[in-house]
Amino acid sequence: MLSKNDIARRIAQEVQGGWYVNLGIGIPTLVANYIPEGLEVEFQSENGILGMGPFPEEGTEDADLINAGKQTITAMPGAVYFDSATSFAMIRGRHVQLTVLGAMEVSSNGDIANWKIPGLMVKGMGGAMDLVASAENIIVAMMHTNKRGDSKLLPACTLPLTGVACVRRVVTNLAVLDIRDGAFHLVERAPGVSVEEIQTATAGPLVVPDAVPEMRL
């Protein structure tokens, strides 16, 4: 079973040189920590920076330099600042090659729900709806089940949707799964996790190939 950091580590393997990548809040943010030194990748944060760097050294933090999670950050050489309209022009215009974000639920046709629990939680969608409606390559990073132990990989989302038929791949603490033809397709198992455990934790239709390799981290 993967830790949150391991999920991020596995997703970092998907990132290719030359890509601009938008990382959502939570587990996705951790992906930046596992990009190999020297790989030409730039991180976009939708509040207005390309070329986001690590947290600042203590004492150098700047209230005017934050990421979309409102955390103080730094800028890498070659970074650029811009306004929110330009930021979403990049996203909507498909200039960002990969989007990684968290989810409360994902369905087997690629729908995603991650912004609202009616009557309980109403934080808002932020930039998530623009991201999922536009990105060509979306990976969801999340736990396979919620705190009550219920599967988050469903035949259909029960919560208000963030986007429809947009998620291509899901990386959880249990597995890597691709979404196509209305089903989850098991691609890799987390180390030490059996196919049966994944089947039990997946409520949506799951296609299991003959051989399911274990992830290499």
Binding site: E46, E58, Q71, I73, S84, A85, F88, M129, D130
Partner: protein
């Protein structure tokens, strides 16, 4: 000859504000928010405001200050976490809330300032956001029609400004400020440093002065940090 936009302070800049008006307020989280204008709105006690702002501040800073005083009737935002009073007022029905995707919010403000009454975007198709909105396919992909937003007053915060209203923002404190500056019938800019017209490089201005009606230098900016994340300083 450059057109002078200077006013003395936040009080003079808010002249004409009335209860019931629609306001835009720049900023992302607490970054790049018009602190002085918010303080003056609180002082004036205007009520029934419709506030267009990406976020709603925290309980004791930013728009949270106006929520405390029940001055806001409706919020148009994309993300409103981090504010207990907000959540309470919204769940109890005291506060009307229109949540819209962040990119659509930015683009709708820009459209309002740019004389584009409506545009199509893929964001929100198939979700609550699309309810009641026209859907049309382009290149086989469904899009929804979103309309422009404008405001009676827009409040923005910049790093430097000149007496002609030209503005330069710093780092990610730019965010929604430029588009909101465009979309205000009266746009009020508060800046950390106000210089005479001609001192800013005309090639490096983010918001042209034509979009700004009033400008003043704030006397002290708190610039509170919402999430202070750091790594150890190198020895």
């Amino acid at each position: 000859m450059a057109i002078t936009k200077t006013v003395k302070d936040a009080q003079a800049a808010c002249e004409g504000i009335e209860s019931g008006m629609t306001l835009m307020l720049g900023g992302f989280g607490l970054c790049g928010i018009p602190e002085h204008a918010i303080a003056e709105l609180k002082r004036r006690g205007v009520k029934d405001l419709v506030c267009i702002s990406n976020n709603a501040g925290v309980d004791d800073f930013g728009l949270g200050l106006l929520l405390q005083g029940r001055q806001i009737r409706k919020m148009i935002s994309s993300y409103v976490g981090e504010n207990d009073e907000f959540e309470r007022q919204m769940l109890s029905g005291e506060l009307e809330v229109d949540l819209i995707p962040q990119g659509s919010l930015a683009e709708r403000c820009r459209a309002g300032g740019a004389g584009i009454p409506a545009f199509f975007t893929p964001a929100g198709f198939g979700t609550e956001v699309a309810e009641g909105k026209e859907v049309r396919e382009f290149d086989g992909k469904p899009h929804i029609l979103e309309t422009a937003l404008t405001a009676d007053f827009a409040f923005v915060k910049a790093w430097k400004g000149d007496t002609a209203g030209n503005l330069v923002y710093k780092a990610t404190a730019r965010n929604f400020n430029p588009m909101m500056a465009m979309a205000g019938r009266i746009t009020v800019a508060e800046v950390e440093e106000l210089v005479p017209a001609g001192e800013l490089d005309p090639n490096e201005i983010h918001t042209p002065g034509i979009f700004v009606q009033r400008i003043f230098q704030g006397d002290r900016f708190e610039k509170r940090i919402e999430q202070r994340t750091v790594r150890p300083a190198k020895a």
